[in-house]
Symmetry: C2
Subunit: 337 residues, 2 copies
Amino acid sequence: MDDASAAVRNKPPSVDRLLGLAKEDMAGVDALIRERMQSPVSVIPALAEHIIEGSGKRLRPLLTIASARVAGAEDDACLKLAAAVEFIHTATLLHDDVVDSSELRRGKVAAHLIWGAPSSVLVGDFLFARAFELMVEAGSMAALEILARASRVIAEGEVLQLTRAHDLGLTEEVYLDIIRAKTAELFAAAAEAGAVSAGAAPARRAELRKFGQDLGLAFQLVDDALDYSGSSEALGKNPGDDFREGKATLPLIHAMARSGPEERAFWTRTVDLREQGEGDFERACELMVRTGALEATLGLAADYAASAKAALAAFSGSNSWRPALEDLADFAVARRK
Amino acid sequence: MDDASAAVRNKPPSVDRLLGLAKEDMAGVDALIRERMQSPVSVIPALAEHIIEGSGKRLRPLLTIASARVAGAEDDACLKLAAAVEFIHTATLLHDDVVDSSELRRGKVAAHLIWGAPSSVLVGDFLFARAFELMVEAGSMAALEILARASRVIAEGEVLQLTRAHDLGLTEEVYLDIIRAKTAELFAAAAEAGAVSAGAAPARRAELRKFGQDLGLAFQLVDDALDYSGSSEALGKNPGDDFREGKATLPLIHAMARSGPEERAFWTRTVDLREQGEGDFERACELMVRTGALEATLGLAADYAASAKAALAAFSGSNSWRPALEDLADFAVARRK
């Protein structure tokens, strides 16, 4: 191992290498996003800018770009698809915040608290439609099929979450169904659409889809773990939101399964009946650590990240995009916000 | 004039002839709608059925079918597009009802009052995505372009309405901009998508689009007039909703323009400040008639219906779909619900 790679190995995982490779492409995606969020109806760009400008890393469009490039794309067809992916994501965030009555999003006051829920719903619709206009411009019926399907699956996942999220009897299996639909599907579709725009062979396309899906699962699992451990500034949302809302995420499912009668009574009171008082969130966090629930959740995330990286085996090592995508999988698990 | 046509002329305008011609096609559209509103997440078909099952005549998909057939379509490509058009319409209805906090829709309790606003928002998203899946199956990039654009324009119109609707200084011009976007655009796109699926020449396609747009304007103008004159059972919504919500529609714009100081004070109190008491709605309806505001609104609707019919001039009279489409324009103006 030479000094340079030793230095790389000692650094915490980051997406810097990927961001460096994708810099020019992402500047193009950014320009497209800014151009297409415009409208003569002034509330639309104002609200869209608020949500789009957040501190987000634009991981989903980055995934579309990186998938296209690792699969050999030489033209810029992937840029419009990447912008479309970000618009779909942003539309779902706007609708989610209304659905969950969230107060913070990406460290900023949620849009519906500034412009009202009706505007958030309608601007979400606008961005969703804009996404499809961009896909039509990109001219790929296969990408349209992938992203239309993903949009439908996401909505199904959101409704499933809405009807089951407060169910303390939620199984790990149903929880995984929910996050596979509401989060991992868009990562999978983002990667697959990139592959399609590069004219990738069916096997490569399926592998990149698998990479995106497993990456998305790892991301959501870590998100759910951080909700019991992160700080507000780092998270860009309030830690404890899931606890306060009584959302049955995997950490909670594990903690429940590893609880004695007294702890069970605590979870029933605080999550099921949502009778919460001072110190309850701190006790919940402590139980998450003590029962090993957080560790189990992060362990599963690490498994998915490893599976994501394994899906890239057939992509040539001579292509520098592959290690950059591997960084992304490592980052998904190592991040603390 | 023979006896049969004399009898036809004495009957009030109806869409019976059109419904008869389109019977088989619409049965196919109906089957598609039922099939594609299914989901393993049970709230989705339940809520979708509630909104889709309303007393609506499915005028928009009917327009897609009729446009395709009048333009010579011989295959069934238009059926999927027609179902997609109805899904887009239904999605916007679900979101509108949340945005407006409406209590009735098509004569039934609004879905968000039964399943909650979050489910209405998310099932709207589901139906919107399903619409794009259907368009992808239909395989026409041109139809996708038309309906993606329409979806975006509708959202812009809804936001414009949201920000300007309570503005008593709204001009007729801005009002027409709003209804052109939020209502007429989908009628225009429904007709144009039908024409495209028939492989119509650009001129025929533009004429059918124009027919749809003018028909949509006539429909919305009559809707806004009926809100000051219809009865609850006939309308399928509460008459006076626009008045109670302080919505600046064309009848109100005309009534304001034709009011003396005393009447102006009435409108300012009831619509601008929304201080309404017993008898106010009745007085509003009486002023609508006395000032000629209703007549002017219905007159403009009749002008648009005539313009819609004129747009069909190039379609052969030997094709029975043309007179059936003309019936639809007449019906738009003559209907009392």
